[in-house]
Amino acid sequence: MSQQLIHSPALKPAAGTRTGPPRRPSSRGSSLSRRERTGAVFIAPHMLMLGLFMLVPTVYAVYSSLFATKLIGGRQYVGLENYRTVLHSGEFWSGVARVLVFGAIQVPLTLGIAFAFAALFDAGVIRGSRFFRTVYFMPFAVPGVVASVMWSFLLLPGFGAYAKALKALGLGHVDFFSSRLILPTIMLIVIWEWTGYNMTILYTSLKSIPKEVTEAAIMEGASLWRIILHIKLPMVMPSIVMLVFLNAVGALQLFTEPSILASFQPQAISFGFTPTLFVYHTAVGSGEYELGAAAAVVLALIIGAISVAGFAVRRRNGEFR
């Protein structure tokens, strides 16, 4: 999964727009406009890089997706033909369906575990919570490539330490790389990688709830479970909603884990196992860059549509203020 390094600032996207810059001092107009220019100068380097390395490549990719490199005649304008090919590709859509299923299971699991631990650590009912929080966060510093390699070796049928342990426990021969178990295996790896990160953000959010709220609930005789589920959970809902988005966008772009597992068990991971693998194999593997660009655009549109739809639903429910 390729989640970005987004810390909880992302949890309140509107916050930055509200904590505005200082009010204009009532000085002369000339110094004002000069100061206005200074502000623009400060942000100019980043905006230039943003334009050069995000906007321009995106526009160029969309433009490229309208061409095809033919054996005879070279690069030709083909209009929307690449998009037709992608949209009619069963391989592409099966990958999209797979990451949707993956996300629908992995995201709630990750956030459920993360919130449970965050709430317990926040309540202080677990001894040595500082140690646990540090340990849980450690996979954040482990590249997805290394995580996938470690787990592949641990789960390798017949050889892996965990596969052997399951056999010793009498659970028989479990093939984690079989077509039936490959997706749960990837979920296991992704949960290992990202639970601690989500837990840390939720823990920080929970910490900002004043203790008077908890104290009042205890006076009323509420149990710990009631306090966690009915008082604290609703209060950190905005953080959870943002984490759902970030995790879901990561899940839809699933690439690193299956691509590394493929080097251990090539038959388990197909050409278009996930949409990002489809893009990579089409563009880099088969050299059909324009077709790959079209697939990337379609994938970006799908992810964008899901994000916008999600935001719209949450906004109607009054989650964002």
């Binding site: 390729s2 390094l5 590394i260």
Partner: protein, 306 residues
């Protein structure tokens, strides 16, 4: 943010409620502690396995018990193999050097750009500022994975394929860095101080350099660290833009190595792969353990301000 949680944020410094007030039964507490220990074992298991396996020969890695030493202690031997091109895919030490260059170059650049832009957004009002800020925040939801193929196509047009700059320059664009710097400067660089310096005739750049930056130092550290981790762990972008193995960072090199270890007939590649994995992970884990408060600072910042 709701007024309630804003008030909550201000009180975040207060102590927590004493846990015994919840009146949990002893048995329940024991079970909860056990679950936490089990999950810690789930997290630490692969890392311990990596540590022990890096001291073994290929045969021992497959055959011995994974969570203890076995056979002769071969860690130094395995480490020395990282300096040679044993797999035919490249030399691990070169990849380590590349990753250092990409991570330091990209992260320093990201920190400078974020500090400038964060200060600009925080302490100036100018036309289009809000639109620009919204644009930056929108790119937050566009992971580098989605932009990698477009970047490659663009690079092949402008000749940045197989160039070190092709990796470093896009890594400098850090929307999260700007958000962090903006909220940090909002909270820790008083407007009054800036106004006072202006009245004393200080130039805008001098104020930024001598007042803004020193006060925002913890924020700078946070942005630097999370940028280093992000670039260190980046896999998809370098995979797409580099075809020369001499330019690979650690992630792509290890991926090539794992392919060679599984498909090739050359002996003793697995210890190289595993020891390489260990060397990839250890610097970041050390960095994290030593500077944990700055990593946490990034998380705290967002929830307390705003």
């Amino acid at each position: 943010m709701t007024p309630r949680s804003a008030r909550a944020a201000r009180k975040s410094g207060s102590e927590q409620v004493s846990p015994h007030l919840y009146g949990l039964r002893r048995g329940t507490t024991t079970v909860l502690n056990l679950i936490a220990i089990l999950f810690a074992a789930f997290i630490l298991g692969p890392l311990l396995w990596l540590l022990f396996s890096a001291t073994k020969s290929q045969a021992e890695i497959y055959d011995s018990f994974g969570f203890w030493f076995a056979g002769p202690f071969r860690l130094w031997h395995n480490l020395s193999a990282l300096g040679h091109n044993v797999s035919g895919t490249g030399v691990f030490v070169h990849w380590l050097g590349n990753t250092l260059v990409y991570a330091v170059g990209g992260a320093v650049g990201a920190t400078i750009l974020s500090a400038l832009a964060g200060y600009g957004f925080s302490r100036y009002r100018f036309r289009g500022a809000n639109t620009m800020f919204l644009l930056v925040m929108a790119t937050l939801l566009v992971p580098l994975t989605a932009i990698a193929l477009p970047l490659f196509l663009f690079y092949s047009k402008v000749g940045l394929v197989n160039s070190v700059w092709g990796m470093i320059l896009p890594s400098m664009v850090s929307p999260i860095g700007i958000y962090l710097m903006r909220t940090f400067i909002d909270a820790s660089v008083p407007k009054e101080l800036i106004e006072a310096a202006r009245l004393d005739g200080a130039s805008e750049l001098w104020i930024f350099w001598r007042i803004g930056l020193p006060l925002a130092f913890p924020g700078l550290m946070t942005v630097l660290l999370i940028s280093i981790v992000a670039i260190w762990n980046n896999y998809f972008l370098p995979l797409i833009i580099f075809s020369k193995s001499g330019l690979y960072p650690l992630t792509v090199g290890l991926s090539a190595l794992s392919q060679a270890a599984e498909t090739g007939t050359k002996a003793e590649l697995v210890p190289v792969l595993i020891t390489g994995g260990l060397v990839t992970v250890v610097p970041l884990i050390l960095l994290f353990l030593l500077l944990e408060r700055y990593f946490r600072g990034g998380m705290l910042q967002g929830s307390v301000t705003g």
